[in-house]
Amino acid sequence: MTSKFLTEVQQKVVVLGDFSVGKSSLILRVSKNEFLEEQESTIGAAFINFSVNVDNKPNQIQIWDTAGQEKFRSLTPIYYRGAIGAIVVYDVSREYSFQTAKEWVEELKEKANPKLIIALCANKIDLLEEKKKLLKEKEYADENGLLIYETSAKTGKGVTEMFVDFSKNLPKDQGREIFNDDFFEEEFFNIELHNGEKKTEKTICC
């Protein structure tokens, strides 16, 4: 059985947070290490999908980023609708971003799917001094039943581990099964990098 004909479980995960917290760079770090090294030329839909083997079954996570759309306030309910998990990112070096993260968590608990699994991600840990150990945040996470991770997208510390661990915590019943065809190889994204050289096709004339 080749991997082409395996059925997978697709699960939607949302990444939320204030702007310039490092959401997109987190996702890029994951996708770069895993998939994007070979097909650097096309930035397509690939970086959003992330597959993990859980108990010898391929689990596909559809990671959803709102990067660049933080100002579209009215859109956010659409994004976290139908999601199974949510990762709320905040910047360690900025205290304001933690407050917004709190607001996000409250909104998700009130209005989103009640079975939603929420994780708190403390990003940019390389900027933090060693003495502080994120005591406040850990307390808050314990009170509200959140998972907590410490990452830094710049060095790549704890990024892939977070996503793998988070996917293991997701309920296996939920999500929808898909047939893994050449589904993600199609290019819907119109940007193509030619590296300054256009390919010329030779045609044969009669």
Binding site: G44, F47, P77, F183
Partner: protein, 653 residues
């Protein structure tokens, strides 16, 4: 030809005339021969036209240049006319006497009255005799402003003309234009033509139709009154000066139109274009006339140099040098107008197939090239007018002038139109530089992206406004109706490819304060619910908005106007910006990054050149200027008021 004619005439005529002719012939043979050659050429050209014999000859009198040497040639034409119509010798004498009188005056006089010309066209020799009698009696002054293809270009309103002149766009229609039009039409029939060329060309054609009605008519056509009025308008060099003059001599000018048909020469030699004959003994250039008229009105003398500064004279300058146009084109336009009226009245597709026959019937033209030209032009315009270029008729609600407009009384299609007009304004202002470096998101770069941020703000307010409009009504059925109304509006927005507003409405209907109204959502009919589902599918996040991107591409391929949803493209741009900035900071890498970014930006901005073709209703536009709406929290509380938690259906009303 000429010599034989002259000899026969001399035999028939009396001695006086013989003497005259001999005198004239001796004066200048060379010029006369040249003139006669030209006459022959003309006659060959108009073999196919039925009434060529008399009218041509009369017109040739006018066509001759105004130099002193050509007096004799004009006399010859008159004489040949008399011979051909076989008028009695006595009357021809009188005619010749008149001509001799004119020779005494330093310059020739055009003594033929318009009525006479009409009669001559009718081929009745008896009538001709009568008219000749009238010739003797009437020595009254005549205003003859020669109808010239060039003048027709001055028919544009002065204001319009001036603005265009100031903007520096020369308005020149020459042969290249005609060639281009022909080529492009071929392209339309065969392969797909580029959208922009087409649009611009259609615009140009419309300019002609609106502001420039043709002056010159084919011979056998009867003129409608409107046309004639337009023709008179064409004649005024500057509207302020020549209006009173034209009103006095309306009749003459009208009859002149029928004469001017034969001015089909391309050569400048024949066209006595600059001649303006106002009274006896006076025969001036248009420029001189203009100067004199200005002097009479304002008592100022204007030199040639000053004319260039004077705004009134701009039309004249254009008339003199800048514009030149083929008459065949002019004629084609007029025929177009006439045939279009016929086609529109019938509204049958079969007419298009038999266009060639219709043109022949209408115009009596035999020349195949002319017909082809006309056919191509007509097809071009009519097709575009009916399908694309004409905006749809707006559906105006009854209570539009009331102080407080109720949206739910406006037709949903009309609201969709007005919204998309309004939204396109903001969208079209977005500049390329605004979308670089994530400047819409960063506080330090907010100044760079005012328009993009305004568009995002409008998006949010619009969706919140939709929520408030739905939550306004207390009754359950009203709320359901309003939701259905917005779904129909969204359906129309989908038709117009306005993805931005579609997304806003969909987000409003999927927002928490409305999704939690379970009883009202149950009231919606299945058809509407399915429509909502289809919108969700279209804008779903699956595989990075696959469906949406396909639709957007399709809209561009069809050359339809569209407004893309900004948010998706902004995420693309942020990812591009994040990846490329960290990789390599060499110059090559930077330039490459810029290339990629600009390609991504142009995906959005390429739609800015396709504006919507709808008519704006000012009252509704004013309504959509701002979207007064509640807060996010206020909305949630409002929805709690409408349907409190744990309420049964019976308790609601």
């Amino acid at each position: 030809m000429s010599t034989t004619n002259s000899t026969t005439s001399s035999q028939n005529d009396s001695k006086n005339k013989k003497n005259l002719v001999s005198r004239l012939e001796t004066r200048n043979k060379e010029t006369r021969e040249q003139e006669l050659e030209k006459l022959r050429q003309l006659q060959n050209r108009y073999k196919n036209q039925k009434q060529r014999s008399t009218t041509n000859q009369i017109l040739n009198i006018y066509k001759t240049p105004s130099t002193k040497n050509d007096q004799s040639s004009r006399l010859d034409y008159l004489r040949t006319l008399v011979n051909s119509s076989k008028i009695d010798t006595s009357k021809s004498k009188e005619n010749s006497n008149i001509t001799t009188n004119t020779t005494k005056t330093t310059r020739t006089i055009s003594n033929i009255k318009p009525k006479i010309k009409k009669n001559l066209i009718d081929h009745n020799s008896q009538n001709q005799k009568k008219t000749l009698k009238k010739l003797e009696k009437t020595n009254s002054s005549l205003l003859l402003i020669q109808i010239n293809p060039k003048i027709s270009n001055t028919s544009l309103n002065q204001g319009h003309y001036l603005t265009r002149f100031q903007s520096g766009e020369p308005f020149i229609v020459d042969d290249n234009y005609l060639k281009n039009s022909n080529d492009s039409t071929k392209g339309m029939n065969g392969k797909a033509n580029s959208h922009f060329e087409h649009q611009s060309r259609v615009k140009q054609l419309h300019k002609y139709l609106d502001k420039e009605l043709p002056t010159i008519l084919p011979s056998e056509m009867a003129l409608p009154k409107e046309m004639l009025d337009c023709c008179i308008q064409d004649l005024d060099l500057s509207t302020q000066i020549l209006k009173p003059l034209i009103e006095q001599h309306k009749k003459e000018l009208r009859s002149l139109e029928s004469m001017a048909q034969l001015y089909t020469n391309k050569k400048k030699e024949f066209s006595a274009t600059n001649e303006v004959i106002i009274e006896e003994r006076t025969k001036i250039n248009t420029l001189k006339l203009f100067q004199n008229l200005v002097y009479r009105n304002w008592s100022k003398l204007i030199t040639n140099e000053e004319i260039f500064d004077n705004s009134h004279a701009i039309t004249l300058i254009d008339y003199q040098g800048k514009t030149h146009k083929e008459i065949s084109f002019k004629r084609g336009q007029l025929i177009k107008v006439l045939i279009k009226k016929k086609l529109n009245s019938k509204k049958k597709k079969k007419n298009f197939e038999n266009l060639q026959c219709i043109i022949q019937e209408q115009t009596g033209l035999v020349n195949t090239e002319h017909i082809k030209f006309i056919k191509v032009n007509i097809l071009d315009e009519i097709i575009f007018e009916n399908k694309k270029y004409k905006p749809p008729i707006p559906k105006i609600p009854k209570k539009i002038n009331w102080k407080y407009l109720n949206i739910f009384e406006i037709d949903p299609e009309e609201t969709a139109r007005q919204i998309s007009i309004r939204e396109f304004e903001t969208f079209s202002k977005i500049d390329l530089t605004e979308l670089l470096r994530q400047s819409w998101n960063k506080k330090s770069l907010f100044k760079r992206a005012p328009n993009a941020r305004y568009m995002i703000k409008r998006f949010n307010t619009f969706s919140f406004w939709c929520c408030t409009m739905i939550l306004q009504s207390q009754k359950l059925t009203q709320r359901a109706n309003s939701i259905e109304y917005f779904i129909t509006v969204a359906d129309h927005l989908r038709k117009f490819n306005n993805f931005n507003c579609l997304m806003a409405i969909v987000s409003a209907l999927n927002s928490n304060p409305i999704q939690r109204l379970k009883y009202t959502m149950d009231e919606i009919t299945e058809v509407m619910a399915q429509k909502l589902l289809s919108f969700d599918n279209l804008l779903s996040s699956e595989s990075s908005f696959k469906n949406y991107r396909i639709e957007l591409k399709r809209a561009y391929d069809r050359k339809e106007s569209a407004i893309p949803f900004l948010g998706i493209h902004l995420t693309d741009l942020t990812f591009l910006d994040e990846t490329r900035s960290k990789e390599d900071k060499s110059e090559k890498g930077k330039s490459h990054k810029m290339k990629v970014m600009i390609l991504a930006i142009m995906e959005i901005l390429k739609f800015q050149t396709h504006p919507y073709n709808f008519k704006a209703i000012p009252q509704i536009q004013q309504y959509f200027k701002d979207y007064p709406s509640l807060n996010e929290e206020q909305l949630y509380q409002k929805s709690l008021q409408r349907e409190p938690r744990g309420v049964t259906f019976e308790e609601l009303d």
